[in-house]
Amino acid sequence: MNPSLFSPEGLAEVIFLILIGTTILGASIATLSKRLIRSVIGLAICFLGVGGLYYFLNSPFVAMMQLLIYVGAVCITMTFAIMLAEPDDEKASRKYKSVSTWAAAPLGGLIAYGLSRLAIQGQWLAPAEKINSGSVKDLGMSLLNEYSMVFELISIVLLVSIIGSLALARVGRRKQ
């Protein structure tokens, strides 16, 4: 079956392709660009595409969080760090053609193979109950009941990173 371009299904497919294209384009800019700052911008484009995919899959909450956290916080912090550390980075001047290239290529291929095999052959379960009603209550309930383990683990990771950054900042201050 080949839905026409202007039917809802056809439009949905076009939108899906645009989102995939955005994600791949962003990822390619991020990996292939010679300037570090352009890589970060590429990463932001990639996150935008991924956020769009979440929205396409009917999870607006995850989509918005993706944009808020990854574009709004992660990318901006990375850009900020690059600006402070290396004003004009010459990524191209570094030689990456070492053992790591030869190790990375088969490893990357293996991961890609595994993921696509999983996607094609895996048993897809029916989606669990969606938290799309916009009610904060539902969100809190599922965060603190079903996903409480994940929630706690993430908070530990965040706590460790905060303490780590504080310790690093402290060391830098003592030297002066």
């Binding site: 956020g51 918005m64 709004g72 901006i76």
Partner: protein, 328 residues
């Protein structure tokens, strides 16, 4: 087909509303600045200088676009677009009246914060892409400022979400129906007494997030020429200015919705979009008023304000709000 017509009319309506605001907020600002400084402001073009925005637009559009030799061209060209697009996009989620919202989002509040995050990235790209030291310094400044003020802003927004129990902007407004004493800006004896504190923190943060004076360190013209705008001429500059005004409209709309009861009437009679616009334009006028009244803060003063005062206060405010909700 109805849906298509609805979408088209909203599209045209928002474009017209935005165009009108972007043109005439500039006029309001110049007039306001003039009168605050005992000048006339624009008065030559048309009665009261009312055609001045058109003349400005024509001037900006007829200028040549020059890309500096040292600039990173793709970033330099993309930055104004990235500044403008999210600002326009956000009007999709703003409810102007009961049922007058282009797209009903369950997570409207979250969406506005998510897309507002692109503004910082745009300024960074402009600052970096210009290939100019002043622009670069301005870019880092604006980003440190945006990061610092986004935290208390989000935390205070959470207090509103806690007392209304939803992130749906229309639902938040409906929650404040009936008389001005139901608005979130006033202490609410059924949920939280600390709402005025939330409002104050939120309003200060929205002013800082839109890079308005007294927090306009990104284009501090006395130290940084024009900050991240230094290398932009013609319509590049024009688009950045328009994005700033669009962000102001968004920020004031959001404050109106969260704290001033959106389209609700203060006395509970005849609610409607007109009340939304009255409140929104009042807040915008306050932005203009404060810009020309207060001197610019220093960078350290600004960052200290956020990290040492607003963030601790907003955290305590959040905890106490949770306590109030539990007690009442």
């Amino acid at each position: 087909m109805d849906e298509l017509i609805r979408l088209l009319s909203y599209f045209v309506g928002i474009a017209a509303f935005l165009g009108f605001n972007l043109a005439y907020l500039g006029w309001v600002e110049r007039k306001g600045a003039g009168h605050i400084q005992r000048r006339n402001g624009p008065k030559e073009v048309g009665p009261y200088g009312l055609i001045q925005p058109l003349a400005d637009g024509l001037k900006l559009m007829s200028k040549q676009l020059i890309v500096p030799a040292a600039a990173d061209k793709p970033l330099y060209m993309a930055a104004p677009i990235l500044a403008m697009v999210p600002a326009v996009l956000l009007f999709v989620a703003i409810p102007f009246g009961e049922g007058i919202v282009p797209r009903q989002f369950d997570f409207g509040l979250l969406m506005i914060f998510a897309f507002a995050a692109f503004a910082g990235l745009a300024v960074l790209m402009a600052g970096w892409g210009s290939g100019n030291k002043y622009s670069l310094i301005a870019g880092t400044r604006v980003v440190s400022q945006n990061i610092a003020f986004e935290i208390p802003m989000l935390i205070t927004a959470i207090t509103v979400v806690m007392i209304t129990g939803t992130m749906d902007l229309s639902e938040i407004v409906r929650h404040q129906a009936g008389g001005f004493w139901h608005w979130n800006i006033f202490p609410r004896f059924d949920s939280s007494l600390l709402m005025p504190v939330s409002f104050l923190i939120f309003y200060i943060c929205s002013m800082a997030e839109t890079n308005r004076a007294p927090f306009d360190l990104g284009e501090a013209e006395s130290e940084l020429v024009a900050g991240y705008l230094t290398e932009y001429g013609g319509m590049g500059f024009g688009i950045f200015m328009m994005a700033e005004y669009a962000n102001i409209v968004i920020g004031c709309s959001l404050t109106t919705i969260l704290f001033l009861g959106g389209w609700q009437c203060p006395f509970g009679i005849l609610p409607g979009p007109h009340w939304f616009f009255i409140k929104m334009y009042f807040l915008i006028w306050c932005f203009v008023w404060m810009r020309w009244t207060f001197p610019r803060v220093t960078l350290w003063g600004l960052l200290n304000l956020s990290w040492k005062y607003l963030i601790p206060f907003s955290l305590v405010n959040l905890l106490l709000t949770a306590l109030f909700i539990k007690v009442f």
